[in-house]
Symmetry: D2
Subunit: 339 residues, 4 copies
């Protein structure tokens, strides 16, 4: 089998989308296509120094631009859109992070509404050194500085929502969107339930790295050069986004309160495990309870996201989605060799 020719998608400034749903596709591709994307950072590239306060240089709702949507030929409602991340590479030698008024886990927000004035809005600029694989944090007060490992990922990946909804790109949900999980890195395959013909995939919000929970509300935000392979599995649409890497099956849930995000992700992982291993449901519940991991993804966005992870070693020879992850790993390796 030969892959379709790679497709390049490098949006101009006016081409970015700020919602999932409600947009015409920028491009249509066949299943199995390699797509080479460029993405802007969540501030639209407008925060370039410590003096660029996001609330001053960004304009609502033009936040968190995403690249796409990409229509995938043949993807129909009820199918599973498969997105394998081949490469995610910072496109700049710097990234930024910031506090933002009424955003973050340790501050009053518009929903956790309190009488406090907002925390100070402050910007941090990181050096991003791709060859060395590190980014450098510098305290804004005092001279403390430290290198952190690069771990590039996309905060925002998703498809058009169900029910005819159009959702801002900052919202995570059953359609994906702003999941903000560090698991969305190269080598990972993401699965989304398709809600509209063509699925309408969009990707953005590159992070040079982020902590689990994205506590302050932003990661080390940077533009990315990203390569994915998109594919379609007929049927089998997961209710919530799933991920797979070489070591783990990962279910996600996005909701508030955070225990509901946890419940969704664990409920999905129990069902996935039950189906893959042919277990009765309570047996799968038991196995996931003893073997699973449960890191926070984000606890700052309009919904919170938890991940539920099962070591694939438990599966023996069983493969999720008929082994598409392994096949796309091979396709990715071939692409990288031949590029």
């Amino acid at each position: 089998m030969s892959l379709p020719d790679p497709v390049s998608l490098r949006p101009a400034a006016d081409d970015y989308a700020y919602t999932f749903g409600g947009r015409q596709p920028l491009v249509t591709v066949q299943p199995g296509t390699v797509v080479e994307l460029s993405t802007e950072d969540c501030f639209g590239g407008n925060v370039r120094g410590v003096g660029d306060l996001p609330s001053q240089v960004c304009t609502f709702p033009y936040l968190n631009p995403v690249t796409g949507p990409v229509m995938v030929a043949g993807a129909e409602p009820g199918d599973t859109l498969v997105v394998h991340f081949v490469e995610i590479t910072p496109a700049r030698d710097w990234g930024v992070s910031s506090t933002f008024p009424h955003f973050g886990a340790l501050t009053t927000t518009h929903s956790t509404a309190m009488l406090h004035p907002p925390l100070e809005e402050r910007v941090w600029v990181y050096d991003v050194d791709v060859p060395a694989g590190v980014c450098r944090f510098r305290a804004r007060r005092g001279d403390f500085t430290v290198e952190l490992p690069l771990d590039p990922m996309h905060g925002t990946v998703g498809v058009a929502p169900a029910g005819g909804e159009t959702l801002m790109s900052i919202t995570p949900g059953a359609h994906g969107g702003n999941l903000d999980t560090p698991e969305m890195r190269a080598g990972t395959t993401a699965y989304f339930g398709v809600n509209v013909p063509g699925a309408l995939l969009a990707i953005g919000d590159g992070h040079a790295r982020q902590g689990e929970g994205e506590v302050c509300g932003t990661a080390v935000e940077t533009a990315m050069r990203t390569t994915v392979i998109v594919d379609v599995v007929k049927g089998g649409a997961p209710a919530w986004p799933r991920l797979e890497n070489d070591r783990f099956l990962i279910s996600t849930g996005s909701a508030r309160p955070l225990e509901d995000a946890f419940r969704i992700s664990q409920h999905d992982l129990v069902g996935w495990t039950r189906d893959l291993l042919g277990l009765e449901e309570l047996d799968a519940y038991q196995l996931v309870s003893q073997a699973g991991l449960a890191p926070a993804a984000n606890v700052c966005d309009t919904n919170y996201t938890m991940a539920a992870k099962l070591p694939k070693g438990l599966l023996g020879r069983v493969r999720a989605y008929d082994g598409v992850h392994d096949r796309l790993r091979e396709s990715a390796a071939a692409y990288l060799r031949e590029r």
Copy 2:
């Protein structure tokens, strides 16, 4: 001043909307116009007997039809849309309620995801006797029956959301939508922040009555004949929907967890009180803390809604929104006399 001629809006079956946002207006009216609407029930009129299970006779996403949108001339983003409810009258001599799989406060749902099978789906048909002012509950098992007072209201009232979003009509939020508060009855004035030119008001989900919290997920659902007067206050857009009746100012908040809905509503009421009475914020916080009421609206929808109520007696001669509620009460009385 003479009112514009009343406008009638009686949608055909295909004219209902199922979202806020994403729809062209059905009609454009001038501020001050009386609008006579007909609305369908939340099941689209498809549940007509105890054998009509909603999950079988209704099709996602064609749930909770709303009448509109109505474009209000001159309403601009940042303005306040004013909707005064003149009359809400059940259009049928029956109403229905039901449990619905994965919906309601005392059942596993798609977000409070659990391993239980759904509760039994069951329909109750109520007699609605408008002249007598009562509806009749009949137990499905056994012969218990009791009359409850009619208290007609609309569960769903709202405008197009901010940020270019399109939201299903079952979702309550800053744009209004499915607030499901029994306070939305005749004699009440509702205030919404305008997000798009013309505001794009829509109304639906009539309830012959509902309990606070709408615990089982549905009220006594029925089609309505409803009359509103729409108006515009320039500027002053509230962040969240507000209501006013002859006795209370009412702020609402819609979020999860429920304490965030409470916080939003109380935070808004504190700010409203502060501004109306010229109080320093902590003084307003104190006054609301001792004088306010805080009933649940719904604890079953995709967001939960709380109301925060302040007795208007505390305000002395101060009037919210420059007295528009009192003026619309008079206009409503004039309309009813002359009709």
Copy 3:
């Protein structure tokens, strides 16, 4: 039947308790006894002017003193302790309220932990005019002042907890405690499940009035002269405190998040309605959904409390707990006549 002689309980300063559980009874009474209590305010009477900041004049854990415990002879685990409030009268002509660092619904707390400094700690002193039935609020900034109706009640009423636990008096739960519901007023009968021999009733935290939710964290706090009649119903221990007045049955739930407090209270009210009316459970769920009220009690304490109310008119001739509320109303009237 003649009542036992009234018992008077007027603790000295060192006699107050600060927990439910873990204390020897101050007095033992027979079922049916009238108990005349004096209670201190939640600050132990130490906040007497606007300069008395609670965090300076009160010492943890000597907060929220309660009067008791009262051992009720014959009350055994599994029984129902009945507490009828005959009179609740402010013992002073003033009351106080305050913000308190890290306490209240619209501020960061030790659990909703944020990086904001605490809100300003501020005290308000109210005039309490018992004969006129009002208390007077005075803004601390500016000269706004307004009278509010007196509505005296007890924030804290409960018994020794189950499981051998000793809980601080500021915590509401299944044992009662700091429910902070305005429903705990004269004319109300409260029902508690008995966990230890004698039940060990304690009462405190009098409020000249409070808003629903007790948003800022404190009500109009004052010492009280309170008369209750205590009684025991053998068996029938409710899982969570219940209340009854002439118009409503009221279930309570105390938990976090607030939707769980709501769920507990509604779940209990559904079961109570089911049992009293002989309904199948889903029929009771439906009836409560359409007829119930759901006000917040407190959204500031270590657990949040919701109330679920059912109009007793729906019950026909059925009486809860075999009519004990009506009988105690009569006993209370007799006591008041003869006093």
Copy 4:
């Protein structure tokens, strides 16, 4: 410096405690003492086969026995109790897990109260093979079986609570208790704020392993032979339990909703990082946001627990608590060599 002689604590059946607080110490030890403990499993050893349903063979409140309390000489309120886990070894060649009515994350509970009947109560028995380092899961329906790595830990470790409270051992909180984090393994040092003279440490609830979140409500429960070294740091009492191992500083938070547990843990980690590195608070917030991990501990107990982890590599030469972890690691190694 020579260590005090090791102390052995092997309770008889009647010596177990079921609360934190409210108990006399079983033994008093000097700071620096090695304590060799035996602990029972959370079922008191009563669940020994798949036919032993916990709700039938266990009696409330005799659940989750803990070994202790241990009084640590010289530990005063405001000090920091240090507990270093030297060894945690399963004392049996089997462990058990179970569902339990109204307990677990994916089921209705007494607080997340719903109308569903409880999930089926089911017991799983695991083979525990200490030399091989594995335990074996066997499905109850079908013949699926798989080995999981042993990762022995204690679910319940804590001290007497503040405020004179006595809390059931199943509750996690600021005093520690039933944190149910897999981080509480050998090689870890735990820090608790001391609330009463002698701290009154107790330990129980051994798990051969558990998944993050302990979704079904129980882990692979087993009796343990455990060795700890206890020590005291004067002053510096953390508000919430902290842990340290060779790679991470770990803050914990226990609360509901789960985002509050997250907030507490992150807030504590930000403050700890700020203090250790001499950073301004927002700089510490930023650093933790990008470098931290945030796994769930338990989402099933009466409070939920989250952990917040910071890689110690970021600290350079800085050591928490003046390096006590490193010193106790050395003491532990010496103890193990010389034993």
